[in-house]
Point group: C2
Chain length 155, copies 2
């Protein structure tokens, strides 16, 4: 996918980065996890060119991270869903999110809350539920935007 | 660091990727974790141009992920050490390593073994020690190359 100038390196991090080692790939996977799965929706969400998106989706599909699924015929339309290999990137993205939360959050707190569905606890730094302690995985969680508190209206 | 076309996105993953969202940055941080901290050593290990390495090191230092430390005078020579913010990327890299191990390892197994120093257990998929169960962090571990078994010599 990326040019493999470090082919000689025997390292799983290097090999993983050949597939997901540029920001658009990881942001596409983030969106797919959040349920944004159609080409036009991804393009709008990411604000990238159709050409870049098309290339990245092709690479991620070829690498076995995403899978194209028909959701409409006449004309045929596809959406991109994560494979098992794609779902296994969830802890990578969540650790990146936690790091971003720690160092780049606004005064309003983290932009997105990851909640243990049905329990109401939140994901802690070790990707466990801070209420019941269970190890979280993607399908056990609900993610929503942390809305900044509205300014108090003048009366 | 990267151009910020998604500045409008309120998302910790997007913000984190502005700092570490390209493969060289993460591979530099990997090497620094492994103890490769001097410019010439990093260049040799990564096989990239001095110019790209210099730019990336500058960005990572400016972002507060790495810190330049004088290790020799006449002439002055610096090495790059991780800050607290840099050390906090350890779980991101380890989850990426685990994903790479799962999907891109050779028949010989994972290229690198991450061991709980003093205990001898290995890091599991949840970044815990598979022997004593403790949650692992960078400084508690020793990493070494998993040497492929030599072919049996003909007698």
């Amino acid at each position: 996918m990326l040019n493999r100038t470090y082919d000689g390196q025997r390292c799983s991090i290097a090999r993983a980065l050949e597939v997901v080692g540029e920001r658009w790939s990881l942001l596409i996977i983030r969106d797919v996890f959040l349920g944004v799965r159609r080409f036009d929706d991804l393009q709008q969400s990411l604000g990238i060119t159709r050409s870049v998106l098309s290339t990245r989706l092709g690479c991620l599909t070829e690498a076995g991270v995403l899978e194209r699924k028909l959701y409409q015929t006449k004309p045929d339309r596809y959406e991109y869903v994560p494979t098992r290999q794609g779902l296994d990137l969830w802890p990578v993205l969540m650790q990146l999110l936690k790091w971003g939360d720690r160092y780049y959050a606004d005064a309003d707190g983290p932009p997105r809350i990851v909640e243990h569905t049905g329990c109401g606890g939140r994901m802690d730094a070790d990707l466990c539920c801070d209420k019941c302690g269970v190890r979280l995985h993607g399908r056990m969680t609900t993610t929503y935007l942390n809305k900044p508190k509205p300014a108090v209206a003048e009366s």
